[in-house]
Amino acid sequence: MKPSGIGGRFRRITHRLGGAPDGDAGDIWKAIQLARHAERPYPLDYIQRLMPDFEELHGDRLRGDDHAIVAGIGRYHGQPVVVIGQQKGRDAEERVFRNFAMSGPGGYRKAMRVMALADKLGAPVITLIDTPGAFAGAEAEINGQGGAIATSMQTMMRLNVPTIAVVIGEGSSGGALALGIADRVVMLENSTYSVISPEGAAAILWRDAAKAQLAATAFKPTAANCYRWGVADAVVPEPEGGAHTDHDAAARLLDGYLSRTLRTLEAIPPGERRLQRRERFRRIGAHRELPTGGTAIVVGVDDGQSGRS
């Protein structure tokens, strides 16, 4: 392949990444609509199916209880497991109550407080991600929205227990990633994971909020693409037509993945598991290398195999 210098043409890194991203705008837009479907199962829908004995915990132990995030501990396959999820509302009233699953710093701090409990008890942590982003508000800023997200990531990076993050709907921006640092990050078949919500992207990049569909598809945020990029470790299938068509079946499919993966993770010593988790996030990204010699080097998301050509 032709070497590229500064300002030279970009090499295609798609082969290295396991194929070009799926770019069909129609398919992507469909996934985005399914990920946000009003009847899609939310964390409490999964929780009640996966663990009928579940104790929801409330409060950040600082100054409030953020309803955009539900957190608690339940009995799952014979052991206590902590679940933390971003909860959208099912009807108009609940949507306001849940603030459309856009939490403030208190939500992440509630999550961290429950993570600490998981670490104390040795209970695995499962996060269920479904948010258009962290809340944008003056009070949230004063209370340290940035620091809350960063500290949540740091806390998850340090947990001694097995952790799985599942993107169940739309995972947008740092508000999603705050709960997304885990030993395994997986996505439901029709979920999306993106740096920003379509509406936010349209306003910022196209300077036109009406360009949401265009913006959404530009990010190609489907599960299959995220898998290719190394952002998702696995894609969990949904019932035919999408998770909203059959909550029970969706929960069963997720259950299969979670229970198998928890067994796998529990077999790894905690210290090693923590290092692997770190290494996982240390690797993700795509850049070119430009040695002084002028030869282009491509480094993909995973440098365990040769990335030089």
């Binding site: 396991g18 290719r228 993909g300």
Partner: protein, 336 residues
């Protein structure tokens, strides 16, 4: 887990069980009046309803042993360390000498402001430590601190949940700075639980204030509060005196503290034993100690090590097929 009958004579304890609360004592007869709805009830009737007003749900105070009886299966529990009694290290005298106050409190039947016991709730063994507001306002002195720490250590050793029900005005003034230090001692007790990975469940009854709220009771793993319980470091009167603020009537109440993020749930006393049993069921550690599962699966250690170093598989074209089969690259653990 098999239900084991606890071998303990509780005859002597039962003698103390019905210690009436201070409020009830002020009534001349066996009657109690509800301060919220003014209904009158016989003590026996009230006791059967766990000292909750049957008309309006107002939660009356509950003595330490009465609380243990309410929570324990069949009312059977095994009280611990009744031999620990208050000393008078400061030779303290306020409106009366401290020993006189202790004598008067002991004469009502309780041995101290904290009652500890081995018990079972819903068949699950636990160690319980209950504060008794009737004993010098549930104040925390050296005996409370010592018993509390022992109870935590006992739960940690036996790997059974630790449950505590609070009702306290705070540190016991008459033991001076030694009472203050008991706050730290309760933190030491909780450290033993943390080391053992044993859960602490705190139930905040009315009132939980001062040094008790500023120590163990605010840092439980799971925190329930009884309806209407006052939960505060500084009580409303002190705050109004200090800052001239006019506080709302429900200031520091359990329901507000739930909104403030300091409580996990407000639980009606009549549901409390059931909730505790259910919670203990959730929190129970798997029969096998941690690591045994690891051993069991250690056989695939080499496979695992290979996966850790493994690069992203070049499987893109087969991805969709595999998704539809639920059979993802990387096997059960997904991609490494």
């Amino acid at each position: 887990m098999a239900r084991r009958q606890i071998q303990v004579s509780i005859d002597r304890l039962r003698g103390h069980r019905d210690t009436p609360t201070p409020r009830a004592q002020k009534l001349p007869s066996d009657d109690r009046a509800c301060p919220k709805c003014s209904s009158h009830y016989r003590s026996e009737e009230m006791r059967r309803n766990l000292n909750v007003c049957p008309a309006c749900g107002h939660h009356f105070a509950v003595g330490g042993r009465e609380r243990l009886q309410q929570l324990s299966d069949d009312g059977v529990y095994d009280e611990l360390w009744t031999e620990l009694r208050a000393a008078d290290p400061l030779r303290f005298v306020d409106l009366q000498p401290y020993p006189k106050r202790v004598e008067a409190a002991e004469a009502k039947g309780a041995s101290e402001a904290l009652v500890c016991a081995d018990a079972r709730i819903g068949g699950r063994p636990c160690v319980i430590a209950v504060m008794d507001f009737a004993f010098l306002g549930g104040s925390m002195g050296s005996v409370v601190g010592e018993k509390f720490a022992r109870a935590c250590e006992r739960a940690a050793e036996r790997r059974v949940p630790f449950i505590t029900v609070t009702a306290s005005g705070g540190a016991r003034m008459q033991e001076g700075v030694l009472a203050l230090m008991q706050m730290a001692k309760t933190i030491v007790g909780f450290e033993a639980l943390a080391d053992a990975g044993v859960p602490s469940i705190v139930v905040l009854a009315h009132p939980t204030t001062g040094g008790v709220w500023a120590s163990f009771s605010s840092i439980g793993d799971v925190t329930y509060a009884e309806p209407g319980a006052l939960i505060a470091f500084s009580g409303p009167r002190v705050i109004e005196q200090t800052t001239r603020e006019k506080l709302p009537d429900d200031f520091g109440m359990a329901e507000r503290q739930l909104e403030n993020g300091h409580v996990d749930a407000v639980v009606d006393r009549r549901q409390l034993a059931g909730r505790l049993a259910r919670l203990m069921g959730i929190l129970e550690l798997p029969e096998a100690p941690p690591g045994s599962l690891a051993l069991q699966l250690a056989q695939n250690g080499t496979e695992r090590a290979a996966r850790v170093a493994q690069a992203l598989p070049h499987l893109s074209r087969r991805l969709r097929d595999r998704i539809s089969r639920g059979d993802h690259p990387g096997g059960e653990g997904g991609r490494p």
